[in-house]
């Protein structure tokens, strides 16, 4: 289990479904990535930046008041305490160093919630690269603080109005930009999606989350957690925490998709879709009977995506990870609960994982072992949206 095959397939999922124009660039990227992994100086630069710039290792925090309320021990992997406020920086530091190594002067990226955009703009400022960030017009509205941040950091934010103006459309536009500027441009893809080698590479840069968490919990408790819980949009924070635990057969894993309104409108391809090709990979996809990609809905811009990383599709079919859905309302409740009981304001994305952890906690864990939630990001970016939603709900 684990690594994709040389063509980038996890079982039947993955591959390179992109125009010929970017295939040579993908081959070059893969070669540079593999040579970087074998270069001790690359690893040193990356781990120095993780430690001194981003603030790693992030803490593993036992949320006592939440544990008491929910009936089982809850641990939080505090990715929200990273520089820029989310796990996205882990991947951006890795890919940013790779872009420099490949002598690319221009970065393009897509962003949904704006967390990946902010992390990309930050790393581009740090490394002296020009960044162009594609963001859906609807997301620009609901994630305004992050748009301001990106612009302050010197990035150009290009609004995308095609489609519904969310993450899917921003990703298509970033891909088109890359096709058009492939010689000098590095596509800094933000999740474990897209053509090979992105799903593998992003997982590799994010798996620092799981490696740290595994060591931290073994040091503290002398045993592994009962269950890992992470939200899944494209799936990078989930792959990051799951991957180093995949061989630990006793550790259960739950990936949480955006259940939207709890009925028809959602963003849950693993729970409700079927396999197809979007943005370069064969994976579970929300599509209609004809193969047209469907519109999605989630309270959380970062989860509002009709596709999912191919390795998640593989882990679903292998039965290794259980994928569940959490509705907008459940996520909002979990958001309030963490804020009030622990003084931590989570990102709406991470609130989906918390809501699922609450359900698991109420069913109880084996031998009182803990539920480890990847708190992938902080909620500052969501304040306006949450205040609006709470007013709507509470009148």
């Amino acid at each position: 289990m684990g690594s994709p095959d040389p063509e980038g397939y996890f079982g039947q999922f993955g591959g390179r479904f992109v125009p010929e124009t970017v295939i040579p660039a993908l081959l070059e990227l893969e070669e540079s990535y593999r040579s970087a992994l074998e270069d001790a100086s690359f690893e040193t630069s990356l781990s120095d930046l993780r430690k001194d710039y981003s603030g790693r290792p992030t803490p593993l925090y036992r949320a006592e008041r939440l544990s008491e309320a929910w009936g089982a021990p809850i641990d939080l992997k505090r990715e929200d305490l990273n520089h820029t406020g989310a796990h996205k920086i882990n991947n951006c530091l890795g890919q940013g160093l790779l872009a420099v190594r490949m002598e690319k002067s221009r970065i393009v990226a897509e962003t949904g919630a704006g967390q990946h955009g902010v992390a990309t703009a930050t790393v581009s400022a740090l490394l002296g690269l020009k960044a162009v960030i594609y963001m859906g017009a609807e997301d620009i509205r609901r994630q305004a603080p992050n748009v301001a941040r990106m612009r302050l950091l010197g990035a150009e934010v290009r609004p995308v109005t095609s489609g519904r103006g969310t993450l899917k459309d921003a990703t298509s536009e970033a891909l088109r930009d890359w096709v058009s500027n492939v010689r000098d441009t590095f596509y800094l893809l933000g999740s474990t999606v897209g053509p090979h080698p992105y799903p593998e590479m992003v997982r590799s840069f994010q798996s620092v989350i799981g490696r740290e968490a595994r060591e931290q919990i073994l040091t503290r408790d002398g045993e592994l957690p009962d269950t890992l819980v992470a939200c899944v949009g494209g799936g990078s924070n989930a792959m990051g925490i799951f991957y180093p635990f995949l061989q630990d057969a006793d550790v259960k894993m739950v990936g949480v998709e955006a259940g939207g309104d709890g009925a028809e409108k959602h963003a849950a391809p693993l729970s409700c879709g079927r396999p197809g090709v979007l943005h370069g990979a064969y994976s579970y996809l929300m599509q209609d009977e004809h193969g047209q990609v469907q519109e999605t809905h989630s309270i959380s811009a970062g989860l509002d995506y009709p596709g999912v990383g191919p390795e998640h599709s593989y882990l679903l079919e292998q039965g290794r990870v259980q994928y569940v859905r959490v509705s907008d309302q459940q996520a909002l409740e979990a958001f309030e609960e963490l804020t009030r009981r622990e003084g931590i304001i989570p990102a709406l994305e991470s609130a989906h994982a918390l809501a699922s952890a609450r359900t698991i906690a109420r069913e109880g864990t084996e031998g009182g072992k803990s539920i480890l939630v990847n708190l992938s990001g902080r909620g500052d970016k969501d304040l306006n949206e949450v205040i609006r939603l709470l007013e709507e709900r509470d009148g």
Binding site: R16, T21, V179, V182, R183, Y282, H290
Partner: protein, 271 residues
């Protein structure tokens, strides 16, 4: 030999270059797009490329994104589009009809079912810009079970010689050379290396070479025609349709193609 390859043979023999228009099925609606397809053939198309709209066309620029989305909004389904293409193909058997779309539409109904539908409908070939050489491998045996349907490979100006060689061997009908590093759209400047790449490709293969992406009028069509065996023009026509009233669209497309035809033939003649 397939219908497309055969057609190129005839065109070469006549000392001419192939004009290959692209239109989006269902744009502005299915009925008008069928009339446009007929008008395109009457105006001198040697081969016709009919695009079946997909929700996320990553190889297409704003013009074809817009035509695809409009067609989907107007309710175009892949099955209706294939039927439309089949009616056009049946009326004019001397002009092979190619289908251009994205691989997910084929996988959604099943690749074999899709290819069988094309075969039944007498459709000659298929262009799938997101089915790279790398991803083709898993489906090769299914494509090979339908030798009537010619799968056209796309080559890029950034493809190294080793890949051009494989693409030229694998392609059927012709090799589609993308003239720009970019997505479809009229008026982009052609890659500076295009002429040099065309010479490289020509040294590797005898198969017909058609150049597409970026054609914006008779002059650029003539320039590209001089470098290869045919020219593909899409966004220019889609934009002409967009700015015309629906009832005038077939005539507008015919005029546009007649100008391109004249430009290409004049240049060929002079050469």
């Amino acid at each position: 030999m397939g219908k497309i390859a055969e057609r190129f043979g005839q065109i070469r023999q006549a000392g001419k270059k192939a004009l290959i228009p692209y239109i989006t099925a269902g744009y502005p609606d299915l009925d008008v797009s069928e009339k446009i397809a007929r008008a395109a053939i009457d105006a001198g198309a040697d081969i016709l490329e009919i695009g079946i709209p997909f929700s996320d066309p990553i190889a297409d620029g704003p013009s074809i994104q817009h035509s695809s989305q409009s067609a989907l909004d107007a309710g175009a389904t892949p099955a209706d589009c294939l039927d439309m293409a089949a009616r056009v193909a049946a009326e004019r058997p001397d002009v092979p009809v190619l289908i251009m779309t994205y691989v997910n539409l084929l996988l959604a109904v099943g690749l074999e079912v899709w290819l069988d539908r094309m075969k039944e409908r007498g459709l000659a070939g298929l262009i799938l810009p997101d089915l790279s050489l790398e991803s083709y491998g898993r489906y090769a045996s299914t494509f090979q079970a339908f030798p009537e349907i010619e799968l056209v490979q796309l080559a890029s100006v950034v493809s190294p010689k080793s890949r051009l060689d494989i693409l030229a061997q694998k392609t059927r009908g012709f090799l589609y050379v993308v003239s720009v590093t970019g997505v479809t759209g009229a008026g982009q400047s052609f890659d500076l290396r295009l002429a040099e790449r065309m010479a490289t490709i020509r040294s590797l293969t005898d198969c017909p070479l058609a150049i597409g992406f970026g054609v914006d009028g008779p002059q650029s069509a003539a320039t590209l025609a001089a470098m290869g065996d045919g020219v593909i023009v899409g966004s220019l026509l889609v934009e002409a349709i967009r700015s015309a009233d629906a009832q005038d669209a077939p005539a507008v497309v015919a005029t546009c193609l007649a100008e391109l035809r004249e430009g290409m033939d004049f240049k060929t003649f002079r050469k």
